[in-house]
Symmetry: C2
Subunit: 414 residues, 2 copies
């Protein structure tokens, strides 16, 4: 707890410094970080090796080991990332609206940093650099708490960042790492609303749930995606197949991948065999409703739970629906309010779907895979919010800012 | 708990209905509510009398009794309020930005309702109507939990609202009241993130703290205001006095009233006697730093705690500072990030203050009392946020919405 409070105080100090630093200076710091990451590549790899040795002894999964591993090209990517963030426009200071009120006050709504951001994440050391760079660009101090598996790698990266910051005259405490990686300390960090303005968990459903349940700090939830593709009664079958295969198979582990296909019964007979042929090429396992089984006999029968699952794998649930209303009801009930798509040629159905689906991103005739800060054109992404407060959908730099009202008067009183 | 879960489920259903209702229909419902409140005035007053009798037996404070009392004109004001909300522009459906991405997708950012809003408040029955009207206008279902002292009044008001909703074809459960006013039920409501999207506490610091500490639902905090007026080294003395007196004395109980005056030492000798003469007219008690005591001998010596107090009364703390930097540091350390004002004729100092003060509203040469949804021109106010996520400063109808991305494609895949 003492480590945390000390870091909290230092972060607040650093946040005050960062709030008024010029864009030019922040960019210089980011470029320096990129430069130093390349210069210290070998040192980071050496520290990462310590983590890898410990991880192998603990028999962690292959996927986790892969995420933990830093090779040359990954550090080069991190360095490139920092430099790319430097090149993005700085949202801080932008006045997004200004008007005169009845009393003649000129009231402006200006973007400012959030203050101190806490990030709790798992065993991906690249998140360390990524989060640090985005927070620095937006003038926020950050307290990072990464997984214990990556502690040596994280320390090495944060040391490089600190050295770079100092070399350009920034306090190194703009970016701090919690070195005590115990669960108790993570819990304590979640109760630090005196020092931390916003908490962003990045990781699996378990981590996010724990933060939501325990935090007294406002949380930005980045969440799971149980996304649907609905093929409407009037549709372009070939386009529907392309979108389905892209949404399901281009990268099934990510949150914007499709998990359930809904098909209008009018097109089920022609579309389902077509879908099947495409899915088979990727060896996708199919969990099907009874009606679907008629057209895809070698599918598994879906259970009720399958409609709620984020498979994150080459598995898809398929259901035939009677109407667009049934499709919308199914999505609003089982979806996680992430990304939902309709494939249709009917104008009114497209409008109905856009209007009635409650999700961060609602698509007509495009793959759900586009829900991403880079694809949306934000130039960066700190995560995809599936909650409704502050930020919804892909979060770019703007979402790491808040606003303040700046008011120019000439003696007005009320 | 059962009452709450049932209400949660009903609210979700109602929210789906409200999300797609036309502005015209929502306005008709609001107008009907206004109409029926007038028609049922006497019934509401009779129920309110039950609360007043019980309250007098419990010896509640005079101020609380005043807030609890519904007389004819207050119900007429509530009715007028509902009709005024009907007349405001509807933010739902507004597309606040639309662009084409690299893949040719047309991506729009559209305002949509938050969903289900929970409001926990104290013994002010007019909040019941106010919150219900603003939520209805923005297409949100609402679960209200008012103080036990106002339970009969609240039931009567919610019954009138429900009757009005039904008469125009809306489900009455768009607006629900938790009838069990125990603390345990309030606590349980704070853990209902499965059904409630946002929780807004309205009331004293104790209530707000309890919600922040216990809620697993995202909270919009409306908070205390320890606001400052800083009179700079170069200033218009008469303007400074006007602003100070307005900020302190026009309504000292509200959150945007001034609590501490900071005066640059260069103008202390001339300004403090001037300020004193103005404050004396309102019998304001002065808690002064040592330097201030030289010019205002009959003031009380301020304690360290006084710099952190929201007096909400005819009391002011006064401190002489060496520099604008000291003023800014004092405000950023002791302020509650609500509303802060500088009175200056120096251009660079005005810019420095606007840039370096961390608060929801930062004023140059105007009274802090303008921090208010109506004064800002929003036409309504659900509260003043002193947190940084989602909403900061006065919250109008826009702040009761979130966004969704609507994406028009023509077969794009990634």
């Amino acid at each position: 707890m003492e480590e945390l409070i000390l870091k909290g105080k230092e972060a607040k100090k650093a946040a005050r410094f960062l709030a008024t630093v010029s864009t030019k200076d922040k960019n210089a710091a980011l470029e320096k970080i990129g430069e130093l990451l390349l210069a210290k590549k070998q040192e980071i790899i050496n520290e990462n090796n310590k983590d890898l040795i410990a991880a192998r002894e603990k028999n962690i999964t292959k996927a986790m080991l892969d995420r933990l591993t830093l090779i040359d090209v990954r550090i080069e990517d991190m360095a490139k990332g920092a430099i790319e963030v430097a090149a993005l426009p700085d949202p801080v200071g932008e006045v997004i609206g200004m008007w005169k009120n009845k009393a003649g006050l000129q009231i402006g709504k200006q973007r400012v940093p959030l203050g101190v951001i806490g990030i709790i994440y798992e065993a991906r050391p690249n998140v360390t650099l990524d989060a640090a760079a985005l927070c620095l660009k937006t003038g926020n101090a950050v307290i990072l708490r990464g997984g214990s598996e990556a502690i040596n790698s994280n320390k090495a990266i944060v040391k490089v960042i600190g050295d770079a910051l100092e070399s350009v005259g920034f306090p190194r405490n703009c970016i701090q790492l919690v070195e005590d990686t115990s669960r108790e300390t993570a819990r304590e960090m979640m109760r630090l609303n005196e020092y931390i303005d916003v908490l962003i968990p990045r990781g699996g459903a378990g981590l996010i749930k724990s933060v939501v349940e325990n935090s007294n700090i406002p949380v930005i939830q980045t969440g799971v995606g149980n996304c649907h593709v609905y093929v409407d009664s009037e549709t372009d079958l070939e386009m529907a197949k392309n979108i389905l295969i892209n949404a399901k198979c281009s990268r099934p582990a990510v949150c914007n991948a499709c998990e359930t296909l809904l098909v209008h019964e009018k097109v089920a007979e022609v579309f389902l065999p077509l879908a099947y042929s495409g899915l088979k090429e990727y060896n996708v396992e199919i969990r099907a409703c009874d009606k679907t089984l008629k057209y895809i006999p070698d599918a598994v029968r879906a259970t009720e739970e399958d409609w709620d699952k984020e498979f994150s794998d080459y598995i898809i649930a398929i259901k035939v629906v009677d109407s667009i209303e049934e499709a919308i009801d199914h999505i609003n009930e089982h979806g996680t309010k992430h990304s939902e798509a309709i494939v249709t040629t009917n104008y009114f159905n497209s409008q109905k779907f856009l209007r009635e689906i409650d999700a961060a991103a609602v698509y007509v005739n495009a793959s759900t895979r586009f829900t991403d800060g880079f694809e949306f054109g934000f130039g960066a992404e700190i995560g995809i919010s599936t909650q409704k407060l502050h930020a919804r959908g892909p979060m770019g730099l703007n979402e790491l800012t808040t606003i303040k009202y700046i008011i120019y008067g000439e003696g007005q009183v009320r």
